[in-house]
């Protein structure tokens, strides 16, 4: 029998029992949709948590701590295998004040290597990089945190700096938090560039980025006022960037073996992924139970279909249909139920998922009654294609397994008994 004739045959039978087949498909659809939607919550939460982690830091970043970090060590780190860049940032750890045209702000001085920064995404939105020790680049939110000194303390809204920053000079002063007066020494710095905004829009970058050449000058001011030999003006942190995600673990492990304290987001992600793999597998398992329940319906429908058609199957066999063909026709019928049920379920699941992501955040934020939750970035449900594939495979396989016994039963029908049945 040709394949299209087999399809025709199956279709004709299904048409004859529309309602019964419809109800069976409905059950299969509900089971499969339940599985997909349930598991999609696992995927949604996993994704939300991953993004939460990834948004804050870079994945291929390894934070390295060492009590005696210096430029020599940094140079050594740069030469290691699979290391793309080593960013050695040193920040001033005491009180700081900047003043520009009567606007005052408190910006943090960070000394870094611009070439290394550029390798891992540091870029300018305006201007150029510093060429001498008194030229600096400022963060994208520098101007917003410069506040007009006259309005300070008044009832009026404090006004911030609105004009272009490029080429402007400002004075930079330091002081101790525990003392009211700042150190009297002023350093005059020129803004030559403005850094690009950070990727995440809630991150404010108000830093002053300078070249390491400025450090001796600032250190001299610091030691002029602070006697304690143990205290330092600059505190450094080193971030090593692996050339790609796969090598992060290798790089961080090698550093750990050499006695560095390291922290990388990749390690944390790995744990998260393992946890969620188990979590999602659990959800798929629970969903599969729903499909198994639906499969009872398929089993019943197919058993009835075989019983009803005993005489017809007998005639088919009598005129020369092979048992294999009979079995295939019935398996096709149960597979058809499974396939149609799955297709409808996938469509419904995407709909439910879409609506859930639309409505649930609103319900949650209303329930919590807090405005900040409206901006909460939670995805409740995600249906990746892998989930569709897994659910379809489970659903269609279960449908075919439950159609297996009835199909076997059909092949075993005795021709003589069947022909003897009354019409």
């Amino acid at each position: 029998m040709q394949f299209n004739d087999q399809i025709d045959f199956v279709r004709q039978h299904i048409k004859k029992n529309k309602l019964r087949v419809f109800m069976t498909i409905l059950a299969a659809t509900m089971g499969t949709a339940f599985l997909i939607v349930l598991a999609s919550v696992g995927f949604g939460i996993h994704d939300t948590m991953r993004n939460e982690i990834l948004d804050n830091r870079l994945v291929n970043q390894v934070e390295v701590y060492s009590s005696e970090m210096d430029q020599a060590k940094v140079e050594e780190l740069k030469k290691r295998e699979h290391v793309k860049a080593v960013v050695f940032r040193q920040s001033v750890s005491i009180n700081q004040q900047t003043e520009l045209d009567g606007f005052i702000g408190s910006h943090n001085m960070t000394v870094t290597e611009f070439q290394e920064e550029a390798k891992v995404g540091f870029a300018l939105q305006e201007g150029r990089l510093p060429e001498n020790k008194h030229e600096v680049v400022v963060g994208s939110h520098f101007a917003e945190s410069l506040i007009e000194s006259e309005t300070e303390g008044a009832e009026a809204e404090p006004s911030t700096y609105k004009q272009s920053l490029i080429g402007k000079q400002f004075t930079y002063k330091m002081g101790l938090y525990e003392e009211k007066e700042l150190f009297p020494e002023e350093t005059t710095l020129t803004i030559v560039g403005i850094a690009k905004e950070p990727a995440k829009d809630w991150v404010m970058d108000t830093n002053i980025y300078a070249d390491a050449a400025i450090m001796p000058e600032l250190n001299r001011i610091f030691t002029g006022h602070v006697e304690d030999m143990d205290s330092q003006l600059f505190y450094g942190n080193v971030n090593v960037y692996a050339d790609n995600l796969e090598n992060v673990t290798a790089v961080s492990k090698a550093l750990k073996d050499e006695g560095y304290s390291v922290y990388s987001i990749a390690d944390q992600l790995e744990q998260l992924d393992v946890f969620f793999l188990a979590f999602k597998a659990g959800l798929v398992f629970v969903g599969t139970i729903a499909i198994l329940i639906a499969s009872i319906g398929i089993f019943n429908t197919m058993t009835m279909a075989v019983t009803e058609r005993t005489r017809e199957i007998g005639v088919m066999k009598a005129i020369g249909a092979s048992p294999k063909l009979i079995q295939r026709l019935f398996l096709m019928e149960s597979a058809w139920i499974g396939i149609v049920g799955t297709i409808i379920a996938v469509v419904i699941s995407y709909g439910v998922s879409f609506i859930a992501n639309l409505v649930l955040p609103i319900i949650v934020s209303t329930a919590l009654g807090e405005e900040e939750f409206t901006s909460l970035d939670i995805t409740f449900s995600i249906i990746p294609w892998q989930l569709v594939v897994i659910a379809s495979a489970i659903s269609i396989t279960v449908a075919m397994i439950s159609g297996w016994r009835p199909a076997r039963k059909a092949t075993k029908i005795d021709v003589i008994q069947a022909l003897r049945q009354e019409l």
Binding site: M1, Q12, H13, V315, A318, I319, G320, S322, I416
Partner: protein, 232 residues
């Protein structure tokens, strides 16, 4: 064409544990030649249908050899048997055994579908046969919209569609009135003459049996060849 040697068969009857064997066929040997119409006549319950079921491969005999052409069909598996039926046998049953969900046309077409003949090659052949049995007018009717005679013609067309060399007919006129019976018997005669098909007709009715070239008489599980015993 069909050679049968020492064919025996018995049925187990009775409740489990207390079964007993009831012999139905007690060592039959006979031959049916190519192109003849043979009737097997006997009382109801004498084992005629059982014999046909065994010849057709629906049932495995207890012992005996069946050779059709030069193939030993008694050694077939279920699979081989089905394939052989599709290629070599046509069937006409007392209660027609048409598919209720298929039209006359589709019923006749079914064996071609099973044989894997493409749709475009089926149409013409089915129409030819429907014309031959005089059913062109009602080809789109379902079996329950046809008279008994018409239904039997559909089943004859279905039996002919794959051009089988042998057609088995089990009480082909058992459900028909005597006038229609004559039509069907004449149709069988003419198909035998024009197409050279071998017919094996099973009947309990002597007048039906008499239309055959040769008659076998089934009695008490034994088969004897003989003329028509008119009045016993």
């Amino acid at each position: 064409m069909i050679q049968v040697q020492e064919l025996t068969h018995s049925f187990k009857i009775g409740k489990k544990g207390k079964e007993r064997q009831v012999p139905v066929l007690k060592g039959l040997s006979f031959t049916i030649n190519e192109g003849e119409v043979v009737s097997i006549v006997g009382r109801s319950g004498s084992g005629k249908s059982t014999l046909l079921h065994i010849l057709a491969g629906f049932l495995k005999p207890d012992a005996g050899i069946i050779q059709i052409g030069n193939v030993r069909t008694s050694a077939f598996s279920e699979m081989e048997s089905a394939k052989f039926r599709l290629d070599h046998f046509g069937f006409i049953f007392q209660n027609f055994q048409l598919m209720p969900g298929l039209t006359a046309f589709e019923n006749v077409e079914l064996p071609l579908k099973l044989a894997g003949v493409a749709k475009k090659d089926r149409r013409k052949k089915v129409q030819q046969l429907l014309q031959l049995v005089g059913l062109t007018e009602v080809q789109d009717h379902y079996p329950n919209e046809l008279s008994g005679g018409q239904q039997q013609r559909v089943s004859i067309a279905r039996a002919l569609i794959t051009d089988p060399p042998i057609i088995f007919a089990d009480e082909p006129t058992g459900s028909l009135d005597s006038e229609t019976e004559q039509d069907i018997l004449l149709l069988i005669q003419s198909l035998n003459k024009t197409r050279g098909i071998t017919f094996v007709i099973i009947t309990h009715d002597d007048t039906v049996a008499e239309t055959a070239d040769r008659i076998y008489r089934m009695h008490d599980g034994e088969l004897t060849e003989g003329g028509v015993h008119h009045a016993i």
